[in-house]
C-alpha cells in the first residue's frame, strides 16, 4: 500500500485549489464549533464559579417595607434554605466632574463582611471599616468610568437629603454581570452605578430600622415546590407589606441576559457548524466522485493487478480522511484563537472576576471527530461508485455522457430563444445533478445566513428607533421617589431650558385574568401626551384611552386577553383595592410589558385626585441653559432617577454599532467562505470534467473569456437558484430566532426592507464573481492542446 500513499499525496497536491476551497469551508465550520463551544464553556464555568463565590440568590421579593421579624414565615417555607433582607433604593449621584446628575442603585451590605447572599467581590480598596458609618463600596465599572478611587468622597441624594459618602473600595457582584440601568438595553457604567452602604447606615438614613424592602432567598437543591409556587406562597404571606414584584433567578435581568447569551452560543455552536459541514460534505462528495471517475482506469488496473476492493476503498477514503483531519486540526487552531477574541469581547460586555479562555481537549476531540465524520460521509458516494466496477469495464474509457432533453426544453418558446451557450449551461446544470444540488444548497445556506443576519441588524435598529425615537420622545425623564402632586410638574416645567413638561404616573400592580396572573405596572399619561406615544404593531400612534388600558401585546398574550376583555388589576399603591378595568387597545412594544392609560383615570383607580411619579421633559437646544438645568436638577429634592434620552440612545447606538460591525464582518466572511468555496469547487470540477469540450471550443475559435462566461453563467444559475431558496429560508430563520428570543424583557421585531434582499443578492453575485475570477485564471492556464490530444 506504500506506493498508493505516494499516489494519494500527489493527488492531494495536484488538487490544491479544490482542496483549499473545501478546507476553507471545513475550517470555518470547525472553528465555529470550537470557538462558540469554548466560549459557551468559558461563560458557563465563569458564571457557575461567580454565582457560587457570591452565593447568588435564587429569588428576590420587592416590597414597600417589611420588619425583618415578619420574614420568619417566608424563611420557614419548605424549600427555602436561607433568606436575606436588604434595603434597596434608586437615587442620584452628584459628581463635581459631571454636570448632570447620575443614577445610582443603593444596596445595603452587612457592616462586617459575611458571606451573605449576593455578596460582593472587592476589586480595589477594601470592605467597610469601623472608622466611619458613611462608608460606601462603589461598583468597579462606574468607579472606573468616572475616575473614582478608594479614598474619594462622593455625594448621593439619600431619602431626599444630600449625603457625603467615603469610598472604601470598589467591587463587583454576580447580580450585575450585565449591569443595566432600568429602561435600557446596554450597560452604561458612565451614567449608572451601584453603591453598597453599611446596613446600619442604610437603616438609619432611610428610616428602615430593623426593616427591609427587598428579600433575597436561596432554595434547597430538591425543593418540594417549584420556585414559582414558593414565590406565590411568599407573596401571600407578605401580602400586608405591599409586594411589588417577585423575581425568580431566571427572570433576574443580569442573569437573563447572560443566560440568553449562553443559550444563543449553544444553539449557534450546533447550528452554524452544521451548515458549514453539510456544505463541505456535499462539496467533497462532488470532488471525490469526479476523482473516482477520472481514475476509473487506474482503479480497474489496480483491481486487475490484484488489489482487493477493501484496499482500493481504503485508498480513496484516505483522501477524504486527509481532508477531514487537516480541516479539523486547522479549525481547532483557528477556533481557539477566535474563542480567545470572543472571550476578550465578553470581558468588555460582562463583568466577571475571572473570565478566561481555556483549552477544552474534549471539545477539540469532538471537533476533529465531527470533521472526520463529515469527510467520510462526503467521500463515501464517490468511493463506492468505483468499487462497483468490474476491472475489465473499469479499464475501458467511460462511455460518452448520456444526452437527452431536459424538462426546460418542453417550454419551447423560451428554449428556442436561448443561445447555444445558455442551452449548454442549463443542460449542464440539470445533468450534473449532484454538483448542481451541492451548489444550490451551498448558495441557499450562504444566502440564508446573510439574509437572517441583515434582518437581525435591521431588527436591532428598528427596535432602537421604535423604543427610543417613536415611543419615547422626551429628552429627559425625571422619576420621583414618592407620589407627588401638580406642584412637582410645575416645578419641573419651570427648570431652566425646559420647553415642555408632561406628567407620568407609574403604578406597580398585579394583573389577573382567571388563573393567569402577572406582575407589572401601569403608566398613566395625560390626555394628548406627546412625549410618550404608544404605538400599535404597525408603529402607528394609538390614542391612550381615557377609561381602560392600552396593553402591550406581550402582556395581553401572557394573560390571554384581547381588546375588549376585562382584566382585574391589584394596584400596590393607594387604597390597593382590586379593580375591574377594560382592555381597550393592544399596543406594541419590544421591551418590557408596558400598559398605558389616562393619568387622571389611573389616579382615581388608586384613590387619588391627581398623582404623578415622574415628569417627562422636552428641552430647548441651548447648551448654556442645559448647564443651568443640570445644576438646579442636582439640588431638586425627591428625584430618584434622571434618564437622559440622548446620552442613553448614544450609548446604546455606540455599543450596538460596534457589535453590529463585528457581526457584519463575521457574517459576510462566513457567507463568503460558503459561496466562494462551493462555487470555486464546483466550477473547477466542471472545468476538469469538460477539459476536452473546452479544448474543442478553443479550436473552434472560442476565446478564454467566452469559455469562462459559460462556466460563470452556470455558477450564476446555481447562485441565483440557491439565493432564491435561501432568502425565504433566512426569513424563516429570523422568525424562529425572534420567537426564541421572545421574552418579557426584550423581543425582536421581524423586519425586512429591500436593503436586506438587495444586499444578500449583491453579495451572492459578488462572491460568485470572485470565485469565477479564479476559475478564469484556471481557464487561461489550462493546457488545452494537451487536453485535446488526451484520449479519455
Amino acid at each position: 500500500m506504500k506506493i498508493l500513499d505516494h499516489k494519494l499525496r500527489r493527488e492531494l497536491w495536484a488538487n490544491g485549489w479544490l482542496l483549499l476551497a473545501i478546507l476553507c469551508i471545513i475550517v470555518v465550520g470547525v472553528a465555529c464549533f470550537v470557538s462558540m463551544g469554548s466560549s459557551y464553556n468559558n461563560l458557563t464555568e465563569a458564571k457557575a464559579r461567580y454565582y457560587r463565590q457570591c452565593r447568588m440568590a435564587d429569588f428576590s421579593i420587592e416590597l414597600k417595607k417589611v420588619p425583618e421579624a415578619d420574614l420568619r414565615p417566608v424563611a420557614e417555607l419548605p424549600g427555602v434554605a436561607e433568606i436575606r433582607p436588604r434595603i434597596q433604593f434608586f437615587s442620584t449621584v452628584d459628581l463635581d466632574a459631571v454636570s448632570e446628575p447620575l443614577n445610582a442603585l443603593v444596596l445595603s451590605m452587612p457592616d462586617r463582611h459575611e458571606r451573605v447572599l449576593n455578596d460582593v467581590v472587592v476589586q480595589r480598596g477594601g470592605y467597610f471599616t469601623e472608622r466611619r458609618e458613611n462608608e460606601v463600596i462603589v461598583n468597579d465599572a462606574f468607579a472606573e468610568a468616572n475616575n473614582l478611587a478608594p479614598g474619594d468622597w462622593v455625594r448621593l441624594v439619600l431619602n431626599n437629603r444630600s449625603q457625603e459618602l467615603y469610598i472604601v473600595g470598589t467591587a463587583i457582584s454576580s447580580e450585575f454581570v450585565y449591569m443595566l440601568a432600568p429602561g435600557t438595553i446596554v450597560p452604561d457604567p458612565e451614567h449608572f452605578g451601584v453603591f453598597f452602604l453599611k446596613q446600619s447606615y442604610a437603616e438609619d438614613v432611610f428610616d428602615f430600622d430593623g426593616a427591609a424592602n427587598q428579600v433575597l432567598g436561596r432554595l434547597v437543591p430538591d425543593a418540594p415546590w417549584t420556585t414559582r409556587e414558593i414565590l406565590d406562597r411568599a407573596e401571600q404571606l407578605l401580602g400586608d407589606f405591599g409586594v411589588f414584584t417577585t423575581i425568580p433567578l431566571a427572570d433576574q435581568a443580569s442573569n437573563k441576559y447572560l443566560s440568553q447569551e449562553i443559550g444563543g452560543l449553544r444553539s449557534f455552536a450546533v447550528f452554524m457548524p452544521m451548515i458549514f459541514l453539510a456544505v463541505a460534505a456535499l462539496v467533497l462528495n462532488v470532488l471525490l466522485t469526479r476523482l473516482a471517475e477520472q481514475q476509473r482506469t487506474v482503479v480497474g488496473t489496480l483491481k486487475a493487478l490484484g488489489y482487493s476492493d477493501g484496499q482500493v476503498f481504503a485508498h480513496f477514503l484516505k483522501f477524504g480522511l486527509a481532508v477531514g483531519l487537516t480541516g479539523g486540526l486547522a479549525g481547532c487552531a483557528l477556533g481557539y484563537v477566535l474563542a480567545e477574541l470572543m472571550t476578550m469581547m465578553y470581558q468588555t460586555i460582562f463583568e466577571f472576576p475571572e473570565l478566561r479562555n481555556r483549552f477544552y481537549p474534549g471539545l477539540m476531540a469532538a471537533a476533529v471527530s465531527i470533521s472526520l465524520a463529515c469527510a467520510v460521509v462526503g467521500s463515501l458516494r464517490g468511493t463506492r461508485a468505483v468499487l462497483r466496477l468490474k476491472p475489465a469495464k473499469a479499464m475501458r474509457p467511460k462511455p460518452p455522457k448520456r444526452g437527452g432533453k431536459i424538462l426546460l426544453e418542453r417550454v419551447t418558446i423560451l428554449w428556442n430563444r436561448l443561445s447555444v451557450g445558455w442551452r449548454m449551461v442549463f443542460r449542464s446544470v440539470v445533468r450534473s445533478r449532484l454538483r448542481s444540488l451541492a451548489g444550490i444548497f451551498a448558495a441557499a445556506m450562504g444566502a440564508a445566513v446573510l439574509a437572517s443576519g441583515f434582518m437581525m441588524i435591521e431588527a436591532t435598529y428598528y427596535l432602537i428607533d421604535f423604543q427610543f425615537r417613536w415611543l419615547l420622545k422626551s429628552d429627559v425623564d425625571l422619576t420621583f421617589s414618592d407620589e407627588r402632586g401638580r406642584d412637582a410638574l410645575l416645578e419641573a416645567a419651570n427648570l431652566p431650558g425646559v420647553r415642555l413638561a408632561e406628567p407620568v404616573l407609574n403604578v406597580a400592580c398585579t394583573f389577573e385574568n382567571g388563573h393567569f396572573r402577572h406582575k407589572g405596572a401601569v403608566t398613566g399619561l395625560q390626555a394628548g401626551a406627546t412625549l410618550t406615544v404608544p404605538r400599535d404593531t404597525q408603529a402607528r400612534p394609538i390614542r391612550v384611552p381615557l377609561v381602560g388600558l392600552a396593553m402591550s401585546g406581550k402582556l395581553a398574550e401572557m394573560l390571554h386577553l384581547e381588546a375588549g376583555d376585562m382584566v382585574t388589576m391589584h394596584p400596590t399603591k393607594g387604597l390597593r383595592h382590586p379593580q375591574q378595568v377594560p382592555v381597550v387597545e393592544i399596543s406594541d412594544s419590544y421591551m418590557g410589558t408596558a400598559v398605558y392609560t389616562d393619568i387622571d383615570y389611573l389616579s382615581r383607580l388608586v384613590g387619588e385626585e391627581f398623582a404623578l411619579t415622574g415628569v417627562q421633559l422636552q428641552m430647548e437646544t441651548d447648551p448654556g441653559e442645559r448647564d443651568a438645568f443640570n445644576r438646579q436638577l442636582k439640588r431638586l429634592p425627591g428625584v430618584r432617577g434622571v434618564a437622559n434620552r440622548q446620552s442613553m440612545v448614544k450609548s446604546i447606538e455606540d455599543t450596538i454599532i460596534l457589535s453590529m460591525n463585528v457581526f457584519i464582518f463575521v457574517l459576510v466572511g462566513f457567507a463568503g467562505v460558503i459561496f466562494f468555496g462551493s462555487i470555486l469547487n464546483s466550477s473547477l470540477v466542471s472545468l476538469a470534467e469538460r477539459q476536452r469540450e473546452v479544448a474543442t471550443l478553443r479550436v473552434l475559435g472560442y476565446g478564454p473569456w467566452q469559455i469562462g462566461s459559460l462556466l460563470f453563467r452556470e455558477s450564476l444559475v446555481l447562485t441565483a437558484a440557491g439565493t432564491a431558496l435561501g432568502m425565504p429560508l433566512g426569513y424563516l430563520l429570523t422568525v424562529a430566532m425572534s420567537m426564541s428570543y421572545d421574552s418579557e424583557l426584550l423581543r425582536f421585531p421581524v423586519v425586512s426592507s429591500a436593503t436586506t434582499w438587495v444586499m444578500t443578492a449583491v453579495l451572492a453575485v459578488l462572491f460568485t464573481v470572485l470565485a469565477y475570477l479564479f476559475v478564469q485564471l484556471a481557464i487561461h492556464r489550462m493546457n488545452w492542446l494537451e487536453a485535446l490530444q488526451a484520449k479519455e
Partner: protein
C-alpha cells in the same frame, strides 16, 4: 485547379520540452498548402503530421521558422489573433469527433455558427452531411459515422477557407470511413474548400490531389496525384 499557396511553412522547427528532454517534433519543414486542393499528409506515429496540423490550424506555434497564411505571417500572431484566425479561417475535424455531449446535433453545429461572422445555415450544413433526419439527436444517440458527420458539419458551417482533418476515418469502419471521405472530397469539388487530411493510412492518399509524406519530423516526399481515385474505389 488553382495553385496559389494558401499557407506556407518556411524552415519550421518544433521542439517540445518534456521535462529535461527536448524532443524535436519538426525539423526544418518547408511546405505549401494550395488554395482549393485536397492535400493528404501521410506518416507513421511521431512523424510530425499532427504537429504540422496544429501549427497550420493556429493551435500551436513553431519554435523556429516562419508560417504564412496568405501574406500574413502567422508566427507573429498574438493569442487573440490566433483565436480570430481559428474562428474565421479554419474548420477542424477530429479523429474522436469531440462533440459536446450536452448538445444535440443541430446545437453542436450552432456552437460554431454563433461565433462566426459569415456562417452557413445550420440545417443546410447538416443536410450537406446527410443528417437532416437526426437534427435533434444527441451524440450518445448516434453512431460513430454520424458523429463524425456532425463534426464535419460543425467545421463546415463556419464557412472556413481551410478544413483540417485529423485522422477523420481513424475511429470508423471501412464503409463508414469511405462515406466520410466522399463527403470531404465533395466539399472540395462542390464548395471549393481547401482540405488537409492527415493519416497514417497510406491508402487514403489515393483520393488526394497532392500527397506529402513525413518521417521523423521531416518531409520525405511531395507527390502530385493528377488522377485521384474516387473514395468508393479505395480499399484498406
Amino acid at each position: 485547379m488553382t495553385t496559389s499557396p494558401l499557407l506556407r511553412l518556411e524552415s519550421v522547427d518544433k521542439v517540445f520540452q518534456m521535462g529535461e528532454v527536448a524532443v524535436r517534433a519538426l525539423n526544418d519543414v518547408s511546405l505549401e498548402i494550395r488554395e482549393g486542393e485536397f492535400l493528404v499528409m501521410v506518416g507513421p506515429s511521431g512523424s510530425g503530421k499532427s504537429t504540422i496540423l496544429n501549427i497550420v490550424g493556429g493551435l500551436d506555434t513553431a519554435t523556429e521558422g516562419r508560417v504564412f497564411f496568405r501574406d500574413r505571417e502567422m508566427t507573429s500572431f498574438t493569442a487573440a489573433e490566433l483565436t480570430r484566425y481559428r474562428r474565421d479561417t479554419v474548420g477542424f475535424v477530429f479523429q474522436f469527433y469531440n462533440l459536446v455531449p450536452n448538445l444535440s446535433a443541430r446545437e453542436n453545429v450552432m456552437v460554431s455558427t454563433e461565433i462566426s461572422d459569415d456562417p452557413l445555415d445550420v440545417d443546410e450544413a447538416l443536410e450537406m452531411v446527410g443528417l437532416e433526419e437526426r437534427l435533434d439527436h444527441f451524440p450518445a444517440q448516434m453512431s460513430g459515422g454520424e458523429q463524425q458527420r456532425v463534426a464535419i458539419a460543425r467545421a463546415l458551417a463556419k464557412n472556413p477557407d481551410l478544413l483540417l482533418c485529423d485522422e477523420p476515418t481513424g475511429a470508423l469502419d471501412v464503409a463508414t470511413g469511405k462515406l466520410v471521405l466522399r463527403l470531404l472530397v465533395d466539399l472540395k469539388t462542390r464548395l471549393g474548400k481547401t482540405v488537409v487530411l492527415i493519416t497514417h493510412n497510406s491508402a487514403i492518399a489515393q483520393v488526394a490531389d497532392r500527397v506529402i509524406r513525413l518521417r521523423s519530423g521531416q518531409v520525405v516526399e511531395v507527390a502530385e496525384n493528377p488522377e485521384p481515385l474516387p473514395p468508393e474505389e479505395v480499399t484498406w
